[in-house]
Symmetry: C2
Subunit: 411 residues, 2 copies
């Protein structure tokens, strides 16, 4: 089965929002071996949607759409769909009853814009959306399937999980399988990694491929295999994953959907040890990366965002003379921050960051991008000086990842 993802919305075309729905839908389809041949984003217009549908149905059996089903006037997808499939919009009483019930919970009543949402294409199978007011639509014509979902990511995800993927699995029994494994690396760039795995890459069988996904000091390597024999694909992936791991050593920190924070978290949890953070220039991002994972409270006790020098002293115990003599961005300060976090907060390990994230605040001596990180362990404190660029957001993310990687290498 081949699929096209078709997202509708001027907000995407003009770059006001990023199309995360396409990512979500593509990942869900790929996991089931359904090949996504294209993502298409088109305008909130009859012409845009029609043109997108024409293209999508020429090249695929399945089209997943989002956008243009909401209560507001810029939403026209369902009108176009009704026309495209030779139907019309008709008031759908079960959907209206559901809306009345939904609003009763909040002691309110649905309004006229909600009533308009209940006018749905005849011929469509209605997919109940438990997270919002606009239902999903499932339409079929000559063995081709078009599914339309609301553009709100949270609602789309609900429909994908509870309705769309279940129905597709029943349809998709003859698919060629696509299996892949992703190795996550940190510490070297794309070219160095390419050099280290060059020979392995040259020896890959025809049905396998290797892709590089670099991002801010981390590179993900996706190894894929296509075919019909599940066991063969799995053994091929195992074999070449082993080769890659051998060539890359400790650069590999995890697999698949892991990230540095989850890997470090699991390692700490396994030893029943705890972590605290003492952040200056990263402003809470290290803590945020750690606490994004369920169960973080088992190993993460908390942290301090010590943006001002006063808080570096009062909360972390950095001695005033250290700040005075060396400045907030210095090896002496970062050591005091990391060790102070362990002591004051009572953790086994601590991560500390202090630097000039930019765009302002640089000097000739310490230009923007000058950043110290440290990891305090029960035995010792390790520091590292980063020389990053001028982009604030990039510096914050890069520093946070480097700090987590420094902890990983010293656990």
């Amino acid at each position: 089965m081949q699929a096209t993802i078709l997202t509708v919305g001027d907000e995407i075309l003009i770059g006001q929002v990023t199309d995360t729905n396409a990512t979500y839908m593509a990942a869900a389809l790929s996991e089931e071996g359904i090949t996504v041949v294209e993502h298409l984003s088109v305008a909130d217009s009859r012409q845009g949607i029609m043109g997108g549908l024409d293209r999508a149905l020429q090249q695929s059996d399945l089209v997943l759409m989002t956008g243009g089903l909401g209560p507001t006037k810029d939403d026209i997808t369902k009108r176009v769909l009704a026309d495209y499939f030779g139907g019309e919009l008709r008031f759908h009483n079960p959907t209206w009853k559901r809306l009345i019930k939904l609003y009763q919970r909040y002691g309110r009543e649905p309004n006229e814009t909600h009533r308009a949402q209940c006018r749905l294409p005849t011929g469509a199978k209605i997919l109940v959306n438990e997270r919002g007011t606009a239902p999903g639509l499932w339409m079929e014509k000559e063995e081709q399937v078009v599914v339309s979902m609301p553009g709100v990511p949270y609602e789309m995800a609900y429909l994908m999980e509870h309705e769309v993927m279940r129905r597709l699995k029943r349809k998709n029994f003859d698919a060629e399988l696509l299996r892949s494994v992703t190795l996550l690396t940190a510490g070297e760039g794309e070219s160095t990694i390419a050099e280290r795995v060059e020979r392995i890459e040259d020896e890959l069988p025809e049905n396998m491929s290797l892709a590089y996904l670099p991002n801010l000091g981390t590179v993900r390597l996706r190894l894929s295999a296509r075919g019909n024999d599940e066991a063969l694909l799995q053994s091929q992936l195992d074999e070449y994953r082993n080769h890659l791991e051998g060539a890359l050593g400790e650069l590999v920190y995890g697999y698949g959907k892991d990230d540095l924070a989850s890997v470090v978290g699991r390692a700490l949890q396994a030893r029943k040890q705890t972590l605290a953070t003492a952040e200056s220039c990263t402003g809470g991002t290290v803590a945020e990366m750690i606490t994004a994972h369920p169960g973080a409270s088992a190993h993460f006790i908390g942290g301090v965002v010590a943006y001002s020098n006063e808080l570096k002293q009062s909360l972390l115990g950095v001695p005033a003379p250290v700040l005075l003599d060396h400045g907030a961005v210095s090896e002496a300060t970062i050591i005091a921050m990391a060790e102070g976090a362990c002591e004051r907060l009572g953790s086994d390990y601590a991560i500390a960051t202090s630097g000039i994230a930019g765009p302002g605040g640089g000097t000739a001596d310490k230009p923007v991008g000058t950043i110290w990180i440290a990891v305090a362990t029960p035995e010792r404190t390790i520091t590292k000086l980063l020389r990053s660029g001028k982009d604030r957001q990039r510096n914050i993310t890069f520093t946070s990842l480097q700090a987590l990687n420094l902890l990983r290498l010293n656990l």
Copy 2:
């Protein structure tokens, strides 16, 4: 001028990475009044890229591409481009010299994979990429322009800013103008907002439109006007923006690229007052949102991520009996956290969050999604109980935005 954005990469098609490059390029083009008619993402294959180029050049005069120019073997865009434009790949000495120089800075030499990167399509104008090893390519054929850039977001952004947009501005002198203003609202959902502005929307002139972009308790309203008379468009936008503001009142918190953190930050800075954070369930996200903005240190002194009860006591001074009697997720605790942050950290205002972000940790009494937020001001402390859903990441982001909005409304 009409444009298509064409991104190349299997990693996008299988949903492993989100196509943020398309967002960036689309925003840059829209600002210059260039209409983006479609975003297309295609496979790292000759067929995928050719098919995408065919489609893009049928419907537009300009194609901006990213992806497939890197040093690794999955990159084939430039080979396809050479064929498409009837050229060939030839070793480009200036690019090689630049690479040698670049690597000298790090005391290293470019390797064989870099050498392959210097084989570039004949007929292409080479755009120097100061942030990486792969140059951009600018190709023209019968008044149509195809620009190809590396897929690394940071490198693409450099080329867009320093090369591509400058060249396009010189070409794009007869464009119809698109001007827009975006109102940012927080506190009500899409349908309520739609009801409140319904009459204004009905009265919009033909050349204007209103779009709704809802996300987690915030809705952005984009008001657009198209035409050739800059002054007229501006006065139309001003007029209808005023109407919208009148109908929406204090729901409107800002415009354009603002966010709640930047708006709150500016307000604090104007009064020379300071803010601290005391976060539990949001794990540093409020601090991260605040410090994402340059100059945050002027009003943000820092914060505490008090994940454990011990740190709520030791760093924020929450009394042990309060935690014992009411629990960490309670109005009594959230008041003590907010007021403790002001006192212990020494700020004028404080934001506090404590709740059950999920997926675990819920009870019958306090199910997942039960979250208290508080804002301490010099005069009083305001609390709010949120009843959110079960999705951890959504709860964290939603809570952080609600807390910033609560501060905004009480400044």
